[in-house]
Symmetry: C3
């Protein structure tokens, strides 16, 4: 029989860029006696995102950050929403380009991530932020 | 016991830009006696998108629109698909950069949106369009 | 009563660009006696993506490919992650801009795609690759 369960988890993002949450998510999945089903991750913020990307070479994260800083730089002089600081509207734009929700199948109790895939919260603001991520599982409980 | 239900809802997009559908979606969720689970929203079009973004300062929406008009302007002279008008291929490109589906956990009968999050249909075409959004809920019905 | 089922399917991407997998997905849905529910598609790679876009004029695919090659060209001289070839880091960036997971409602046994929507694997690498896509269905089985 199918079950669903939900939780929220907080992530401290000390600086702009990618923060690996794969272990936190896999830990929650393991704690739920999950057999197979679907995990959905949802970011409750408009200036941070979710991203699945390479977990091997940290240079990939550096370059991803470098690309988005160049694509959406601070100081674009046509911006109207500037009252929350020069990093705020670029953060909203980057959040629009990346994901707010992600769904990952679970097979035999494990996230069906590829070998090189990690799950990240991407912080778009320049200062440290606490970010809340909601998790939802729908599927079978593992057979004992 | 888990249930699933689905519906479709039409949105009239009178012009290019963001159109808030949070109230429509929350209304359907409320009408379903939903307890907790997962809501998925799906946009049945290739030149309109779904977006979760800030619902407070309308200048954020203006700037998001401004960014995407600059990133994907009309008149790029290398485009091949031009028969449906100068706004059509840029609309397909913007739709590729934004979301076609979004999933939001439901906790205690309410969408687990953050305080500043609204759900929008983003119209990429220059003329008014009717857009159809499919909604799917999987989860518990609220206990009476 | 709700059921869930999962599978994986391999796609051979012979070259950079969009590869239509709509028929493969619809075939699996049809084989499962699915009534209504939710299909989730997940790409197990960090240099390939999922995309729902127009299935009518192939020029749309040509132009989408042209846009992303211009937005994220090979040869950006500030990139650090270059050991896997000039097409590798641009591929990771494009994968970040497009989708890793997509969820599509199923109504009366059929994917609730719009008339002009096809489902594509987008290959971002320059050489042929085998890509694995995980599929998950949660919903009702069709009544006999």
């Amino acid at each position: 029989m199918l079950r669903q369960s939900s939780t929220t988890t907080d992530v401290i993002a000390p600086r702009q860029g990618l923060h690996d949450i794969t272990r936190d998510i896999a830990g929650w999945v393991a704690s739920q006696d999950i057999g197979s089903g679907l995990l959905t991750i949802f970011c409750r913020h408009t200036s941070a995102s979710l991203l699945i990307q390479e977990n091997a070479d940290p240079d990939v994260q550096t370059d991803l950050d470098g690309f988005f800083q160049r694509l959406v730089p601070e100081g674009m002089d046509w911006l109207v929403h500037t009252t929350e600081g020069p990093d705020d509207m670029p953060a909203h734009i980057k959040a629009s380009l990346l994901a707010t929700s992600l769904s990952i199948p679970i097979l035999n109790g494990r996230l069906a991530l590829g070998t090189w895939q990690g799950v990240y919260v991407v912080e778009h603001r320049a200062t440290p932020h606490r970010r809340t991520v909601a998790l939802n599982f729908i599927g079978h409980i593992a057979e004992g």
